[in-house]
């Protein structure tokens, strides 16, 4: 019988205690994996959302920067407009590689739901916008045929919700005009999935927003000094410049406090696991006081006893980690829903990123924690004096 089998059998001798210890470690591992996965997944999703915008700078009418951030990532209501000739003022700047103008319009639809609801439309320039979104793929159809056409392109989810396919008709709220769906986009996993796109000029005309835009997206040349260019743009009257970095920082600072709590909980989870293991193995050593004494009396060395008790700790941690990993995968969907419910802003995409690296990291941390927690009971067992143990009553 080798050390491993002996340790394994020792743990199985007290099945209920072993079971609850493994569950305790599993819960700690689950909390740790989920929280660390969130820590990384949130930032990755946010970066992906921002990259998916297709531009590094956004010009909007002057207002609250949070409003601008919301506008970019969620699509806003109560929008501010800026004159379309702002484009002329900036389009010749040498820093600009690509530029696209957009009009976001939120229209109240009295027939949406019981009390009506708002539908958001995005007017885009068909000559410049597609180049900003090279990852767009059409499930059906394609872009608009004319810059003033009464045509619509739908994001995947918008098409699903409206049950529209290329060739179908749509009616915009508060208008009697018919619009033809000319394209349905494939799913992108971004906010564009829920968007209803119209040609900019058509949207301006339909909702009486002639010569007005809400946003101007700018992609700069790689070699351009974005910070200096931003300063130049700030000189424009009544215009606000929002950079992707700014938006990201704004949102990151919003959830920073949540992250501190997250990391604290992860640390507490580890401490709970460590003390749980310490308690269980120490109890087990005390219960086997005489048994360990006999082992030593028949020739077991202190280091062998130490190794045996430590091995039990490793096995407990390994089983607990596996339980935690399984739970993390099984309940990641539920955890994500909870995070989305509680956070003020959650980007589209996977909020809890579970990766092989994280799994190995967790496994390593839990075993390390267990080993640390196992030192005291293992030492206690190693230094039991055989005669004292054999003489003892219990």
């Amino acid at each position: 019988m080798n050390f491993f089998t002996l340790a394994y059998k020792n743990l199985l001798r007290r099945k209920i205690r072993t079971f609850f210890t493994v569950i305790g470690i599993g819960l700690s591992a689950w909390v740790f994996i989920t929280l660390m996965g969130f820590n990384r997944g949130y930032e990755e999703s946010l970066n992906r959302d921002i990259e998916a915008m297709g531009f590094q700078l956004l010009l909007t009418a002057k207002g609250c920067p949070y409003e601008a951030a919301t506008l970019m990532l969620k699509g806003g209501t109560g929008l501010r407009y800026m004159p379309q000739d702002t484009v002329k003022k900036v389009q010749n700047a040498p820093e600009i590689a690509q530029l696209t103008q957009m009009l976001m319009h939120a229209e109240f639809d009295p027939y949406k739901g019981e009390d009506g609801g708002t539908t958001v439309f995005l007017g885009i320039d068909p000559t410049t916008y597609p180049a900003m979104k090279p990852y767009f793929r059409f499930k059906q159809g394609g872009w608009f045929t004319q810059p003033q056409a009464n045509e619509i392109v739908l994001g995947y989810e918008a098409a699903e919700l409206e049950e529209r396919e290329a060739g179908d008709l749509m009616l915009l709220p508060n208008t009697e005009q018919e619009f033809k769906v000319v394209g349905v986009l494939e799913r992108t996993g971004t906010q564009d999935d829920g968007m209803i796109f119209l040609p900019l000029q058509t949207l301006q005309k339909t909702f009486h927003k002639e010569n007005l835009i809400t946003m101007l997206g700018i992609r700069t040349h790689q070699e351009a000094d974005t910070a200096v260019f931003e300063e130049q743009l700030y000189q424009l009257p009544d215009v606000q410049v929002v950079s992707m970095a700014q938006v990201k920082n704004t949102i990151i600072s919003l959830v920073a406090s949540a992250k501190v709590i997250v990391l604290s909980i992860a640390a507490i989870a580890f401490l709970i696991a460590m003390f749980g293991v310490l308690n269980t193995v120490l109890m087990s050593v005390l219960e086997r006081y005489q048994e360990i004494g006999i082992l030593k009396a028949i020739g077991a060395l202190p280091k062998q006893i130490f190794y045996l008790v430590w091995l039990e700790t490793i096995l407990l941690c390994l089983w607990g980690s596996l339980v935690g990993i399984i739970m993390a995968f099984a309940f990641s969907g539920v955890a994500e829903q909870l995070v989305r419910y509680f956070l003020p802003f959650a980007p589209v995409g996977n909020l809890i990123a579970l990766s092989p690296g994280l799994i190995l990291q967790t496994l390593g941390f839990i075993i390390l924690t267990g080993l640390t927690g196992g030192i005291l009971p293992a030492l206690r067992a190693a230094f039991i004096r055989p005669l004292d143990a054999i003489r003892s009553e219990n």
Binding site: D109, Y111, K112, G113, E114, E157, A159, E160, L161, E162, E163, R164, E165, L169, M170, L171, P173, E176, E178, R187, L322, I325, I326, F329, A330, N350
Partner: protein
């Protein structure tokens, strides 16, 4: 141990699944109270053709409807929400909605049903149509009160005209464009058929 490893592999290999758009009430608490003012509670059950009978049930539903499910969004895995309403332990009725493709967009046709499956009211949660006002009026909705699955069973939705037998012959189509009118009738019939299978005891065994 082997089982645990396979479970882990299975979980790791599970691709992200995008559920099809279903049809549930935006504000169930308010809507349930509106249609059943004496209700004290309700339960929510999620059904789908896939879950309740799969391909066999789909074929049966299509047969009863008289038309194949069409388009990209009328699929076997679409989730349906059935609200069952109670006053303490007494069953008051059901609310169930379906998405129906209309001329200008999806129409969400909710039926408020008695425990026996008779229509108490129709609620269009979402309706984009030039005749929205008409379809939401009492004048349009009230003739449907008391109708049930049996009344629609013989109605041929593909004919795009009202049957010449009562009680459906008593309905009035709008004078202008009738596209959405017949879409709504299709939605109602689809809704009643699905409720027969999800709630009123038509099971896979007795299909």
């Amino acid at each position: 141990m082997k089982k645990i490893i396979w479970l882990l592999v299975g979980l790791l290999a599970t691709p992200s699944i995008w559920a099809a758009v279903g049809c549930d009430l935006n504000e169930p608490d308010r809507d349930v109270k509106r249609f059943f003012p004496t209700s004290s509670r309700y339960t929510t059950a999620y059904e789908s053709i896939q879950k309740s009978g799969g391909e066999k049930l789909l074929a049966q539903v299509e047969h009863e409807l008289g038309e194949a499910f069409s388009g990209l969004y009328e699929k076997i895995d679409v989730p349906y929400t059935v609200y069952t309403i109670y006053q303490k332990d007494n069953l008051l009725g059901y609310i169930h909605g379906v998405n129906q493709k209309g001329k200008y967009g999806a129409i969400q046709v909710f039926l408020v049903l008695t425990p026996q499956g008779k229509i108490l009211d129709i609620y269009f949660q979402k309706l984009t149509s030039k005749q929205s006002k008409f379809f939401r009026s009492d004048k349009f909705r009230s003739p449907f009160t008391g109708l049930s699955y049996k009344d629609f069973a013989g109605y041929d939705i593909s004919a795009k005209k009202l049957p010449d037998f009562p009680p459906l012959s008593a309905l009035t189509a709008p004078p202008e464009d009738t596209t959405d009118f017949y879409s709504i009738l299709r939605g109602i019939k689809k809704n009643l058929i699905l409720m027969q299978h999800f709630v009123f005891g038509v099971t896979e065994e007795n299909l």
